[in-house]
Amino acid sequence: MIQIKSLTFGYSGYSPIFQSFDWTLNRGETWAIIGSSGCGKTSLLYLLAGLLKPTSGEILIEGESIVRPRPGTGLILQEYGLLPWSTVKQNAELGLRVHNFYGPDGRHAPQGGRTSMDIMPWLERLGIAHLAEKYPSQISGGQRQRTAIARTLALRPDVLLMDEPFSSLDAVIREDLQALTLELCREQNITLIMVTHTIEEAAMMGKKILLLGEPPNTKPKVFENPNSGDAEFRQTMEYLEICKTLRKELGNETS
């Protein structure tokens, strides 16, 4: 369970983006966060990742207050964050190598023993095992994002944060990776929180959609979208309806 309690956050010298903001998510839910530029989508994700600190208030994940990156939370960014000097296999192993570097200290790596260093099953699961010895510059954007997903999921996170992860990919690869992400999150019972600026992606990925408005955000505006996730959902009236609603709400927020 993730609880955001009375969160206030703003960059120094600017007015707050969040003010006394409360939000609760249950384990295994898939959330999409949408909003116009500058509304605080990415800041909220970085706060959840422990990369930013709240001005006041508290963020709790499974009862633990987040003051630094938490070993059980995975983060995937738009630009993948792969090391250009490492192969696909070495990049995918990186999280495991970082955890082994510190040992199971509960701070940098989870307590309770070391994780297996065998990354190949993950590369196979993501369909990139044949690229194991290639460098990031030799593979496509979609393959790079698969590498980033393998790297994160190999750490067996219970929370997966994604910041516009598929925005630079073409439509077919994007839909393919959206489906794969949802499937893997279902399989591993991972709570997914994905930031997107695309209405269609939010409608497809989020069983719950958080709409952020012009700062300061004080109350979460949540849209239920329980039937999303399946490929056929795109063909339904429900999908068109939620897209229409989100478009209208976004228009209201920015006007």
Partner: protein, 247 residues
């Protein structure tokens, strides 16, 4: 740089040299053939090899020490905004000073042994490497750090997995840029208070013995020393940075 291209360039230079020697027709510029004979006879006598090894030792030790000192310093400065603000002005003040002007001072303090010569090479390479490594560390994209930090990486892991491998190309670039300067300075450093090294060998044969073929054999040995160092850096780059050579 391909070896075949270097060979063609060497042949071209030898032809020009031959023409110049024939036109000048003075003992101060012997023909390449005469110099080649002197080179091989000095080499087989062991004299040239001994001086070359003395010079090689000084360059290699000076280079290794400068890498060991400048890389951690460059990474620390490039990785910290505060350190960068404090130390960069100091580096910018010291960097442009031609280090060769310190030769008499260093000789005075460190005496006539290898230490003085190695220190001069160290000083030249240190500043080149620290500047390039610092720039490389400071220019790394923030996403790389956010992504690594989210995997649990603290400062130590960032240095191990990001800063250090990212700085390798900068170190090798600095070495490539500095090899020529290091060899040139080596010549000057070896003019003073020593009887070993190519600098001494060239000067002694040219100015005291007036043995010009031997002097030019020393110049060729020095050029080969520099070339060998260039190729070593290229080789190291292929071993340490294979990702730069993939297509």
């Amino acid at each position: 740089m391909k070896r075949r291209d270097v060979l063609i360039a060497a042949l071209g230079l030898a032809v020009l040299w031959q023409i110049a020697a024939l036109l000048l027709n003075r003992s101060i510029l012997p023909t390449p053939m005469l110099v080649a004979q002197a080179f091989f006879s000095e080499l087989t006598s062991g004299l040239l090899a001994e001086h070359t090894l003395a010079s090689l030792w000084r360059v290699v030790v000076g280079t290794l020490l400068s890498v060991l000192a400048a890389v951690p310093a460059g990474l620390a400065i490039g990785g910290s905004v505060r350190l960068n603000r404090i130390l960069s002005p100091v580096i910018y003040l010291l960097y442009p000073i031609p280090k060769v002007v310190f030769v008499p001072v260093i000789l005075l303090f460190l005496g006539i042994g290898d230490a003085a010569k190695i220190t001069i090479i160290f000083l030249i390479l240190f500043f080149q490497i620290i500047v390039l490594v610092r720039d490389q560390a400071a220019a790394l994209p923030p996403q790389l750090f956010q992504s690594l930090r989210s995997l649990g990486a603290g400062r130590r892991a960032l240095f191990r997995f990001v800063y250090l491998p990212a700085s390798l190309p900068a170190i090798l670039t600095a070495l490539r840029q500095s090899v020529g300067t290091a060899v040139a300075v080596l010549y000057i450093a070896e003019l003073f208070a020593t009887q070993r090294g190519l600098g001494y060998y060239i000067y002694y044969n040219g100015s005291t013995l007036l043995n010009y073929p031997a002097m030019y054999a020393g110049v060729i040995a020095m050029s080969l020393l520099g070339l060998g160092l260039y190729f070593t850096v290229d080789w190291l780059e292929r071993i340490l940075c294979p990702w730069k050579f993939v297509s």
